[in-house]
Structure formats: C-alpha cells, structure tokens
Amino acid sequence: MIRVEALTKTFVTGRGRQRVEVHAVRGVSFTAPDGAITALLGPNGAGKTTTLRMLSTLVKPDSGTAQVGGADVAREPTTVKATLGVLSDARGLYTRLTARENIRYYGELRGLGGDALEARITALATLLEFEPLLERRTEGFSTGEKLKVALARALVHDPQHVLLDEPTNGLDVVSARALRRMLSRLREAGKCLVFSSHVMQEVEALCERVVVVAKGQTLHEGTIAELKARTAQASLEDAFVELAFGQGV
C-alpha cells in the first residue's frame, strides 16, 4: 500500500532578482491500496511527475509524508526502493547492450542473479510480448519496444509497488493493449499500482480509483463512479474537466 499525506515541493531556480519559485506540489494526499490500479489524473504541470519522483525517493519532499509499504520515503529510501518498480518519464536504455543485458543489469544491481534471473527475464519478455527482441541490442528499437524493455527492467525484481509515469505516451494501439494486459495481470497478483495519465479512456478501462490532481493539489480521491456522481456528469472526461478546470470549459 502507498499512503501519501499533504506532500509539498517547491523548486527554486535562479538567484537574487532572477529567483523563481515554482510550487510544483502544494498538498497532495491519497492512498493506493494493494490489488488495485490507482490513477493519478491531472492536466500537464499538475504535479503528477513530481509526486511520483518523491515516491521514488529521488526528490525530497519539503513537507508532508509518504509511505511505501509502511516505509517512509524520506527516512528509509533504500527500503522503499527495494519494493518499488518505477517506469519514469526518463526510460533511457543502453543502446549498445541487448534487451536482456539491460534488464539483467538492473536485476544484478538488486542482488538477483543466476538462472533464476535469466528465467525471470525471459518470462517478462514473454508476458510483454517482446521475446524475439531479447538478444538484440536496443539501438534502433521503436518507442513501444523501448517501453516494453524499460517496463521489464522496472519489474525484474517482482516489486510489490509499481509507479508508472504516463506509460502509454507515444505508444501505438497494439503496444498500449499489451501494456494494459500486463497492468491487469499485476493487479490480479495483488500488486499496488499507481499510474499517472491524462488519457481518460485508459483510466476508465483500467482503474478502480482515481486521484484528481490540479495545480499541485488533490481535488478528488475515490472511485470513478464517485467522481461522476460528485460532479453530476455522465462521462469521466466531463467530470474531470469540471473538477480540474471549473465549469464552462
């Protein structure tokens, strides 16, 4: 389970007169239970990516707390990282290494190895439908192929908690469907998934719970049905727009 309470983060750029403060996150709270996919829904610049980065321990929160599987992200980053698999916005691969070598590198960094690791890599490639690419260098892979390798890399240690930052960006229909099947499978296995998106159909098709974030704050947390009921809108998109941007947009 992931629990986020009143997280804030301000970025400062420049000095003196050119000092600019950007309040990226002003108070985000939500709970993501195990065995469910929780969507972080919000317009561009809402603070979704920063929230996920704080959960992945690479950005320190200014205030508020976040716990991943009971471990605090600020105080126990190593414990958090151990149970976390992250597909971030940056998903660069090593182009001179094969897909298998890319995934193996992360597995070995996490203390895995031997036949078990190789079997796990092959299983992930089969699930994500890129087995034929496994022994090829990743140079020249398509966006979808790269994403699959990056996802396999993030899941190599079978993490209990999975964060995905706009995973379907730039994917074609076939790849997006393969990704969705994978996420459903992870949910059935009892994993706790949080994924950020601004694609409504996807959220509707996949997620039980939505957290609407705008201007760095949580505006709604609950099921999709609750969100629709609250705004008296029939579609998720209308409900989201009304909540995030106000009426009449």
């Binding site: 950005v59 691969l93 090593y94 001179r96 960094l109 990056a150």
Partner: protein, 391 residues
C-alpha cells in the same frame, strides 16, 4: 561489493562495444610512438645529412682557387649555386647556405688585407642554418691554416696565439645524448592517458543524463558510491590501457630505429617504460575521476566535450610550459599534476637522481585529488538538478 562488480562489468561491456573508444585507444596507442619517432628521425637525419653533405655551394668559386683547393682537401665537392639563389633563400624556397666570394678576393689576400666572404642563409630554417655554420667553420679553418703559415714564415711560434685552451665537459646528465629526444615520451604519454579516458568518462556521466538512463538507474537500491566507483574503475581501465599501449609502442619503435644518431638519442627500453608507467599510473586515476566530474555537469555529449576540452588542453600544455619557461626542477612542480609527472620523468630520462619523495609526492597528490573528485560526484548524484535536468 557485488553491486560495484556489476557496475564495472556493465560499463566495460558497454565501452568495449563502442567503436569510437577502440578507434581512439588503438590510434593513440599504436600510432603515437612510431609517428613521433618517424618525424624526429626524419628531422634529425635531414640535419645530419646536410651537416655531413659532401657538397658545398660556392658562388664565384673561380675568384678563390686556394680556398676551393682547401675545401676539396677537406673532402667537399664545390658546386655553383643555382641562379638567383639570394631571392630563393629570401622566399624560403631554398633550404641551404651559399658561400659568396667577392671579386678581388685573392688580391686582398696577397696584399695582406682582410679578405671578406659572405655566407647567405635563412636563420629561420634549421637546415639552412646548419649548412651556414658548416661553411663558416670551413672558412675559419682555412683562415687559421693561412695564419699559421704566415707566422711560421716570420719565425713565430704559433702557440703564442693560443695562450688559453678551453675544454667543454658536460657533467649535468650522466647519460648525455642518450636522452635528448626522450622528452617526447611524457609529452605524448600524458595526453594519451587523457584521450583514452575521454570517451568512456563522458558516456558514463553526461551520456547517462542525455539518454535519460540516470534517473531509472538511481531508482535501484544502489549506493551512489558504488555507481561512481564502478564507472571510475572502467574509465581507469581504458586510460591505463591506452597509456600502456602508447608506452609499449614507444619501446617497440625505439628498438626498431635503425638510425644511429636517433637510437643514441632515444634509448627507451624496458626500464624506462616501467618508470613511465609507474609515474603516470596514478595520473591516469586522477584524469579518469577529473574527466568524469567535469562531464557530470554536462547534460549532453556535446556539452561534455566542450567542458572536458579544457582538461585536455591543460594536460597537453603542461609539459611544453615547463620547456618554454625553462622551469628549473623544483619541489613545487611535484605538487602539480602533469607538471610533476613530466619533471620526474625528465629527471629519470636524463639520468639525474630521483628520490623516493620525487616518486611518492606526485602520486599522493593524484590519489588525494582523485578521492576528492569521486566524493564530489557521489554528492552531485544526489542533486535533483543533476538527476532530472536532461539534455
């Protein structure tokens, strides 16, 4: 420990598959020694052949039959210069010197007047200058012979003219000429250590940022120390390999040199190669850490190349600086990386005594700075501005 090994293994495989790395390492290592030696040997043998050339160019030789006779007795072949030789020398088209005899030269001699000759040359050109000095020496020699004859005719002991005798003895270096050309080795070897490390250092730092692989990498429960150390060890390996290749290629080229003068001036054997490696080894460690630190500030390969080019220039300038400023061997140079290594190697090659301090101080400085550079990188990898800002 296993994390460190994992990082080293990955970086080595990644680098070994990079053709640019191999190209640079091979070209630097294999070509630098022979090419440098080839250029030097060409230069030296040109000088030598000119110095020992049997031909001398004399303009208006008919006006000085006795001088021509002397030159021929010295085994020289007197030839007339091409027409318009003065213009040719002025224009830089003619790489030799010409002895010009004025009309009435023999008359002046017969009447006991001072007889003038001129040696035309271009002092900017080493070969022309050497030829001019040879001509000057020959004419002076003949003048002394004439003077001796005149004194003997008058019954004077020629020894009266030489009340003082000076003998030039070199005591500075007991290897003398054996090391004259060895100053080139540290010059090339220092740069080779940098060039060998460059591509991998950039790829392991700025490259990670540019391709967006740094952020996911840091999401693994791995210490930044293990990451930095692992990457650094891989870079060191490339730097050391390039250095070893360069030194080996110098040693092999030194063995293959046929030219007597050059092989006398370039006695670079196993002992010298070993010394070079021992002195420059710690420098490789520092160069690797320093280049990585510099490149970590860059968001792309391009930016990193711009930043690291300062390091490359500094290292290549250091040895020539000490040459042009005629820096004397002094303690403070030991404290400056590149300068210290260069000085110690120069002393070794000259055959001057080298103390333990001379060997240990530059190495200690390099190791201390290396530790600082590595520490700085582990701190930088915790900074949001480094992890998330991409090229």
């Amino acid at each position: 420990m296993s994390q460190l090994a994992t990082v080293v293994k990955k970086e080595v495989i990644d680098a070994a598959r990079d053709r640019r790395v191999w190209l640079v390492v091979l070209v630097t290592a294999l070509v630098s020694g022979p090419v440098t030696l080839l250029l030097v040997s060409k230069f030296m043998s040109d000088l030598k052949s000119r110095a020992e050339a049997r031909e001398v160019l004399v303009d208006n030789a008919a006006a000085a039959p006795r001088l021509v006779n002397f030159l021929e007795r010295q085994g020289r072949m007197v030839k007339a210069p091409p027409p318009d030789v003065r213009e040719a020398i002025e224009a830089g088209r003619f790489d030799d010197a010409v002895l010009v005899i004025p009309p009435g030269f023999e008359d002046d001699l017969l009447h006991g007047k001072l007889a003038d000759v001129t040696v035309l040359h271009d002092a900017n050109r080493a070969q022309s200058l050497t030829a001019a000095m040879t001509l000057d020496r020959l004419v002076t020699g003949w003048g002394q012979e004439l003077g001796l004859q005149r004194l003997l005719v008058r019954g004077v002991d020629p020894a009266l003219l030489r009340p003082v005798r000076s003998t030039v003895v070199s005591v500075g270096a007991n290897r003398g000429g054996a090391s004259r050309m060895l100053f080139l080795v540290p010059l090339v070897a220092l740069v080779s250590a940098v060039i060998g490390a460059l591509a991998i250092a950039i790829d392991a730092t700025a490259g990670e940022r540019e391709r967006g692989s740094l952020e996911p990498l840091l999401m693994n429960p791995v210490s930044t120390a293990a990451l930095v150390l692992g990457k650094w060890l891989a870079v060191c390996l490339a730097s050391l390999l390039t250095l070893m290749g360069t030194v080996t290629s110098f040693a092999v080229a030194g063995q293959l040199v046929r030219d007597e003068g050059l092989s006398a001036a370039f006695q670079f054997g196993l002992a010298e190669a070993g010394f070079t490696l021992a002195v420059l080894g710690p420098f490789c460690l520092l160069v690797s850490a320093g280049l990585m630190l510099a490149a970590l500030f860059a968001r792309s390969h391009k930016e990193a190349q711009a930043i690291t080019s300062y390091v490359v220039s500094l290292v290549s300038i250091a040895p020539s600086l000490s040459m042009f400023l005629s820096l004397q061997d002094s303690g403070w140079q030991l404290l400056v990386p590149a300068l210290g290594q260069n000085m110690v190697l120069a002393r070794v090659f000259r055959g001057s005594p080298v103390s333990g301090v001379d060997l240990l101080v530059p190495a200690a400085v390099c190791l201390a700075l290396t530790a600082l550079a590595l520490l700085a990188q582990t701190r930088l990898l915790a900074r949001e501005a480094i992890v998330f800002a991409r090229g």
